[in-house]
Symmetry: C2
Subunit: 491 residues, 2 copies
């Protein structure tokens, strides 16, 4: 159940006041802000960049948690919780890591009126605090693998303009931190988790992804390599959806996470970390929404089916009875269903639930009880159809259709992503492609300076490099040996 109240004055506002007033294609940024505020997903808080995740959005996150927890538990990964406050000295142990995160750390200096002896960082990520304990727990190969995950809040004090979900100073995520005896085991997990993230986007969010390896410039601060899933927003900006890192032995050497191997010799452990955040909700909203508002994919929709009864005084009971029959039967099949029997006009309700992106709407009035058919409206393609009113028939039809909607939305996202990718062989072409709000697919040597040079010339940076490339190419910029990378303007 989500809030179904109108949020101003005693009388409901007209739909034009709550409706979306710009076209997605005309002003993506304003459109995005409107669907998120008017759809009651986010409220701005008093601190810039720290936003309230309202129930209608938090419920999406709960769907992701439920799926992800079940999958990682099957893999033998356990949940835990580590402190949020990290002493400054601990934070400084891994050189690249501290350089990467220091500029955006929020610092705690006082407890009550007392000045703390050492500043404490609010976690911008938890490698340092977790590995300080891992060191104590790991002595022998028998103690490995150690595979923990935590769901928590993160603070990164960015100074860029905040965007709900996509760039916020506080956000929610899960972070997995795992330790293995060998690089092979660790690498296998990096890709297993990468594939799991691809499933979260494709199967739950119905969002197509580019799966691959980040460039040297764009990898995580302290990692050997970073893999990612990347998406394309309709404003032509690429965005990173989730990352899975091979940390190698960088942290295990900095934190002395070593173990006696089966031969009784000391080895440094191999580590991974990986995370997906509430940013993913924003990506999904930006990709699927349309000029009427949000379009929720059924798997994560807080309300999957809304039933709007057409109410007249003399037939009210009969109509509500039938609506409740259908709701109960849908709920037996775990379909999240809501009957909107508030006293607003049906047209107002239709617009409201379209704005909120409910995948499937059932309309049912006294005429339908007589004719034996009811109307179903589909949010994602704006189609409507009349079907037999028999409860079991309705329920079976709805279940089938929700699956179909989920698949069609993913198909559509895949097509859009595929169409956005343009291969190119020259820097000039690349510049034109990214200015045309597309993704350039080009060969690149993966040299840090060369990526900086490409960015200077085109405004684009690498998204990632598709995995499993055998063929060698020549870098589009410097001519050195290269692989194919995706490039784009990005968040």
């Amino acid at each position: 159940m989500v809030e179904d109240k109108i949020k101003s004055g005693d009388e409901p506002k007209d739909i034009k006041d709550i409706g979306i007033t710009v076209k997605k294609s005309d002003d993506f940024s304003e459109w995005y802000t409107q669907i998120i505020l008017k759809g009651e997903l986010i409220e701005y808080g008093p601190v810039s960049g720290c936003m309230i995740i309202r129930p209608y959005a938090y419920s999406i996150w709960e769907s992701i948690q439920e799926f992800f927890n079940a999958e990682i538990k099957k893999m033998g990964i356990q949940n835990a919780y580590f402190p949020m406050l990290i002493p400054e000295n601990l934070f400084h142990k891994e050189k690249e890591h501290v350089e990467g995160f220091n500029p955006e750390v929020a610092w705690v200096t006082h407890g009550g009126d007392t000045l703390l002896p050492e500043r404490l960082a609010i976690r911008p990520t938890s490698e340092t605090i977790m590995y300080d304990s891992y060191k104590k727990w790991i002595r022998s190969w028998r103690d490995l693998p150690l595979r923990l995950n935590q769901w928590c809040n993160i603070v990164r004090w960015e100074f860029k303009h905040p965007v709900p979900f996509l760039r916020t100073r506080e956000f929610l995520w899960q972070e997995g931190h795992t330790v293995f005896t060998t690089r092979e085991e660790a690498e296998k997990e990096v890709y297993d988790i990468l594939n799991l993230y691809a499933r979260v986007f494709e199967e739950l969010y119905a969002v197509a992804v580019l799966k691959g390896m980040k460039s040297q410039n764009e990898k995580f601060a302290g990692a050997v390599f970073t893999t990612s899933v990347e998406m394309m927003l309709p404003n032509g900006k690429a965005i990173q959806g989730a990352t899975s890192h091979l940390l190698g032995q960088n942290f295990s050497k900095a934190f002395d996470i070593s173990f006696l191997n089966k031969n009784g010799e000391k080895d440094y452990a191999w580590q991974n970390s990986w995370g997906i955040s509430t940013r993913s909700i924003g990506i999904m909203l930006g990709i699927h929404g349309d000029d009427q508002g949000i379009v929720m994919p059924p798997r994560v929709a807080p309300i999957q089916v809304v039933i709007v009864p057409i109410i007249f005084d003399d037939t009210k009971d009969k109509v509500l009875q039938k609506c409740n029959d259908i709701r109960k039967e849908l709920e037996k099949h775990y379909i999240r269903t809501f009957i909107d029997d508030s006293d607003y006009r049906p047209g107002w309700k239709f617009n409201k639930w379209e704005l909120k992106g409910v995948p499937l709407r059932i309309e049912l009035g006294p005429k339908d009880l007589i004719s034996g058919k009811l109307k179903i409206a589909y949010r994602y393609n704006d189609m409507k159809e009349m079907i037999e009113i028999d409860t079991h028939h309705v329920v079976n039809h709805v279940i089938k259709k929700l699956d179909e909607i989920q698949n069609k939305m993913l198909e559509n996202s895949r097509k859009i992503l595929k169409d956005a990718i343009v291969s190119c062989n020259t820097i000039d072409d690349m510049q034109r492609i990214v200015e045309d709000k597309k993704i350039a697919y080009a060969s690149f040597c993966d040299d840090r300076a060369c990526e900086d040079s490409i960015k200077d010339k085109t405004g684009a940076k690498t998204l990632n490099m598709p995995l499993g490339q055998m063929e060698d190419h020549r870098c589009i910029n410097c001519g050195k040996p290269a692989k194919l990378f995706y490039f784009g303007k990005s968040y």
Copy 2:
């Protein structure tokens, strides 16, 4: 599945090194620390008072979350997430509230190298940040009730000696914050939630509670009244388990949370807040544990059944096959089961799983396959029995027994609590009772100065006042009209 690794050196330590070395009755504090560290529930972090909740403890919290979420969702309460950082000015809006929490707020002063224009409090509780938004969302009686909950971390910079779970500077909790049009509706919810907390302790933790109303001195800073569930630890100290507050209109007036009622007049809303934290895990551990270590009640036990195969080379496969048959069948009934087939001695394993408090252990070796019986050992009463080895029989027996253990543990806790309560009529008696590590039950006028006076004389403060008292009494200290309260020394 939880870690089953031995955490030091390449060879397992002897059980005497990992076993509990003090008796609970001799030194509760040292005993408590040992079961929590050796049972792998907590690890100390680098910042005093900020502790790591390891998977074996976090899994208990997940059980609580699952139960509590299902119950509050039935009540129409939704989950959300509000920012952790609260601007100092917002925090100061409700006078009693800020006085109550200010001394223990952790303050953020810098983002990266930049001094913030205003200090930000890390939430010690979220009334202020949430009600700042509630004000925007509530205009009309149509917008009410508004009933939100969040699961989050909390920081309170206490300077008393930290105790794992029971007193930590960072902890996890849920906090519900609800708004109603009338005091009656709000009060009803206060008690509904209080009863839900009593169920969490009694049905999940198997811990008996004292349910009642806090005194004026001990109520929440900013509340009209506070209800609580209180428990008694074996060291004679009482402890507050969870609280449910009627905030009345104190915050709605401070934050201008008003609405137009059905007559078109402006009214201030009625509010509640309520919470239970990871402290509850510590209470459960302290109450149930014994000289061998932890005793987990089945409903929250991370592992409910451990199967220890007695392995010899020639019969290994057959024995493991049978163990796996039983495990699979138990898991079909959602019984959390673990087979310890590590290469340690059976006796070592028995001691380990007793220390970790697994409610029920199945021992199964080649002799049992021949005799057709296997041994079951019960953690809570140290009893053992032989039962028929048939898988379905074992599974049915185990399910029945887990229920029985849960009930017996609660019965036992109830008996201990009941025996700890001693009625008294004089201050001298009260002093003797609390020094004898009991709870005094005495009449009290609920005057703040009088409670201070009683505390000076006896060392005890009120725990709470049982609800529904009709009869009037005379205060044990000042002789004014009074009700019966529980008194004790407390955490």
